[in-house]
């Protein structure tokens, strides 16, 4: 009598050929690859959009003189993942201005001794899609957003305070 062919044989192989465990591992690897692709291409439209130079301001708040001295026009700025945020084309330094409360509970614009607000003007190639601006196609610029930033000499965080064009 002809033996009935089983879907999974006694050694756990599908149709006697492929191990179920092997198949599961292959499926996991493919799923990971797909997930990675989707994650890294989530701004898929930005991949196909041409790059436009965008000028914007980043303000580094309440830093000491040592930090102020180490940022200069021409410096390149990156985010914490190494994404290019542009080149410094201008900078202004002002005494730090912070919102502070008084004893009566009211808020005032106050100063902070020994601290400065450093505003950088940067130019960076951006992909623009549906009004969203992605520096170097990756980091979205939004006014009010805070970005951890580094230069060759400085590590800090900065607020996007204006997008000029």
């Amino acid at each position: 009598m002809e033996r009935k062919k089983r879907i999974i044989d006694e050694r756990g192989r599908l149709f006697g050929k492929l191990s179920v465990i092997d198949l599961a591992v292959v499926v996991i690897v493919i799923a990971m690859a797909v997930a990675y692709y989707v994650k890294t291409n989530s701004g898929a439209e930005t991949r196909t959009t041409s790059m436009t130079d965008v000028t914007y301001n980043l303000t580094i708040r309440e830093v000491r003189q040592g930090t102020v001295d180490l940022v200069r026009p021409g410096d390149k700025v990156y985010d914490e993942h190494g994404v290019n945020l542009g080149e410094v084309t201008g900078l202004t330094v002002a005494p730090a201005a912070i919102k502070s409360t008084l004893v009566d509970g009211s808020y005032v614009n106050a100063g902070s001794e020994g601290k400065f607000d450093l505003t950088l003007t940067l130019v960076v190639g951006c992909a623009i899609a549906d009004g969203h601006i992605y520096a170097d196609r990756k980091t979205e610029l939004t006014v009010g957003g805070v970005i951890p930033v580094v230069t060759k000499y400085v590590k800090t965080s900065a607020h996007v305070t204006d997008i000029l064009n």
Binding site: I28, V29, D69, K76, L102, S112, K115, K152
Partner: protein
């Protein structure tokens, strides 16, 4: 003895291991940015160690080797130092302004360190992995003293 042959399962495990290794290296790179080519140099920079008692401040000497207490990186040798009052920013409740006020019997040590370094277009690295940037927090350990502060200056 059965001869070992590479099967699909083994291959998948190897691929996973390589992918995990690559992901680990990528994440470790962190803020290293694009390093490009590097060249040997000497970096001089200043770290602060805050809130020190007088006894600890008195132990600091030129020539001390300073290490990072957490990751054990060699941070360099002390080539100069200055002891100043430890000041904290406190709010004046009448004006709202923040003023620096000295804390009694506490000191800040400003250590100028010198170390061999690898310099690229985007960063300065010492001891193979420690990236020197103003604003980086350090947990410094010298002979008989230690504490926490930031890198506050780099010779540029």
């Amino acid at each position: 003895m059965k001869k070992w042959r590479l099967n699909l399962f083994d291959l998948a495990v190897i691929v996973l291991a390589i992918a995990a290794g690559a992901a680990f290296l990528y994440l470790q790179r962190g803020a290293g940015v694009v390093t490009g080519s590097t060249s040997g140099t000497t970096v001089r920079y200043v770290i602060e160690i805050t809130n020190l008692p007088k006894e600890a401040a008195g132990k600091i000497k030129v020539g001390d080797s300073v290490t990072d207490k957490v990751e054990k990186h060699a941070l360099g040798r002390v080539i100069d130092f200055e002891i100043v009052d430890y000041k904290v920013s406190t709010r004046d409740l009448t004006t709202g302004d923040y003023r620096l006020r000295a804390v009694p019997e506490r000191f800040t040590a400003l250590l100028t360190l010198e170390s061999p370094a690898a310099e690229s277009a985007t960063n300065i690295t010492i001891d193979g992995a420690f990236v020197v940037r103003c604003g980086t927090e350090v947990s410094a350990l010298g002979p008989g003293y230690g504490g926490v502060g930031y890198i506050v200056k780099i010779e540029r």
